[in-house]
């Protein structure tokens, strides 16, 4: 099933991306080749021979929305810009995408020739007598294939992110695997597992109740509930390694693994710290109000996951996998 979902995500992304780009081209969403009338408010008159003007492009929200046929701009546009003029009164402009840049221009700047900068030609410019402002006619560089460029960038960026995440795990992995090894040798994990045997033997009937996997599962669940994700992931991976030692067929998930992941992805956490922090940062009067509701939601997810794992593992389709595994394991034993 992972095959299909994976392929679905990729295929949908490519189809929608191409579709949107074709639509942009037909609708001329970015008004390629259409000059825009703006007001240029200069803040610094050029000195010396270089004809570089610094100032702002000014447009009312209505002018902007009319030009791009949207309704997305609510505030007047005041975009800092640098204009270079030649002696015949034409020239070029360049600005960087910043916070107050309209969303449409931000979007355009992402796939412009210089990343996060937009440039174009100044076709006509008429200064006022005191040179403090000018009426200008500007033409942006053509913007095309925005989504396909974004998809290409995302593919590369996220491949890098994956490696960064994995590398970031090395240190904490080593720390926790070391600590757990000591706890195991000292027999601490056995004491821990004995306490929870009544629960764990129901959840994981295939695993001997004093197996190190059970200890790791308990510690992983506890760390997750406390929101200690730095500790939870290494311990969880340790649990997977232990579960895999009981796996009759390498490369195929066992029932216990799926049940364990159901508990893990249910995401039961006593204090949803990230959500609370974001609420507090956006000025909530009561950021912690979601503790109860989030525990309820995660409880629903966890219980459903565990029950679903127990029911689905009996489906002929998945059971057949397991039986075949066992048969193969037996053959291997005899051979």
């Amino acid at each position: 099933m992972l095959n299909y979902i994976w392929l679905f995500l990729i295929a949908l992304a490519l189809i929608v991306g191409v579709g949107k780009d074709i639509n942009d081209e037909l609708q001329n969403t970015y008004q390629n080749g259409v000059p825009l009338e703006v007001l240029f408010l200069s803040s610094q008159t050029p000195s010396g021979t270089a004809m570089k003007w610094e100032g702002h492009f000014y447009l009312t929200a209505k002018q902007f929305n009319d030009f791009y046929r949207t309704t997305s701009q609510f505030e007047e546009v005041k975009q800092p810009v640098v204009i270079s003029l030649s002696s015949d009164g034409t020239g070029s402009f360049l600005f960087s995408s910043a916070d107050m840049t309209p969303a449409r221009w931000k979007e355009m700047s992402k796939s412009a020739s210089a990343k996060d900068k937009l440039m174009g030609k100044v076709e006509k410019i008429e200064f006022s007598d005191d040179k403090s402002w000018a009426k200008a006619q500007i033409l942006f560089e053509p913007i095309r294939f925005v989504k396909l460029k974004a998809i290409t960038q995302a593919a590369i960026d996220f491949a890098n992110t994956a490696v960064e995440i994995a590398f970031g795990l090395i240190g904490v992995m080593a720390l926790w695997l070391g600590l757990i090894k000591v706890a195991e040798e000292a027999g601490f994990v056995k004491v821990l597992t004995r306490l929870l045997t009544p629960i764990t033997k129901r959840l994981f009937p295939d695993i001997p109740s004093d197996h190190p996997a059970i200890g790791a599962i308990i510690m992983n669940t506890a760390a997750n509930m406390l929101g200690l994700s730095n500790a939870a992931t290494p311990i969880g991976l340790k649990a997977m390694e232990e579960l895999n030692k009981l796996n009759p067929k390498a490369g195929t998930a066992t029932n216990a693994m799926v049940t364990f992941l159901a508990i893990n992805t249910g995401g039961l956490i006593l204090i949803p710290a990230t959500a609370i922090a974001v609420r507090a940062a956006s000025g909530s009067a009561n950021p912690g109000i979601i503790i109860g509701t989030a525990i309820f939601g995660a409880g629903c997810a966890t219980i459903t996951g565990v029950v679903a794992s127990k029911i689905l593992q009996r489906l002929p389709k998945y059971k057949k996998d397991l039986n075949e595994e066992k048969k193969i394991a037996k053959e291997n034993d005899h051979g």
Binding site: L9, F158, A162, L175, F188, V278
Partner: protein, 182 residues
């Protein structure tokens, strides 16, 4: 009551890791384990486990990354929103529900946007943050956990994970509608 619960849990979270280090090593020393040598022995596997995850994580994150970049989410939302409207789930929170199992950073971004647009104490704001707290990033967990032991055939893990996420999101809508519906 809720505040007391929160400060107790916060306290436990702060003490948990120092306490675990102390108990594990102390117990080991008491049981005459050669703690330093055993620690190093165990820590050796850290590197290999982390490196083993890379191909699985690249496959998963790149697919989710291009999905996010393409704007396909808007399309999914427009297809699914007629159904979710029926159960009283605001259409604005649907991207949150769909993104939560796929990407942690993506759903964090959506939650932050929703709070900016609607306010953190609005129904949408409360529901979005409840949804964020109601589930883990299922596909990330699947990739990392199965990847670490080279599991390629995940059997029923994906349907189980998706059913759990569905239940988590529906549970969040249900409880928020009961408690916070104005």
């Amino acid at each position: 009551m809720a505040d007391l619960f929160r400060s107790i849990i916060n306290l436990i979270s702060i003490f948990a890791i120092p306490l675990m280090i102390a108990v594990f090593l102390g117990w080991g020393f008491f049981k005459k384990v050669r703690v330093y040598e055993v620690f190093v022995e165990g820590a050796k596997d850290g590197f290999n486990t982390a490196i083993r995850i890379i191909p699985y994580l690249v496959a998963m994150l790149f697919a989710i990354g291009i999905f996010r970049a393409s704007g396909a989410m808007d399309l999914l939302v427009s297809i699914i929103s007629p159904v979710t409207n029926l159960i009283g789930m605001p259409a604005d929170t649907l991207p949150m529900a769909l993104m939560r199992p796929l990407s942690g950073s993506g759903s964090l971004g959506i939650m932050t946007e929703l709070m900016k647009a609607h306010g953190p104490d609005s129904f949408v704001g409360v529901l979005a943050s409840t949804m964020y707290g109601s589930s883990e990033t299922t596909f990330y967990v699947l990739a990392v956990y199965f990847g670490s032991v080279n599991i390629k055939n995940s059997r029923h893990a994906v349907p189980v994970g998706l059913l759990a996420d569905l239940a988590g999101m529906l549970g969040a809508v249900f409880i928020c509608r009961i408690l916070f519906r104005i």
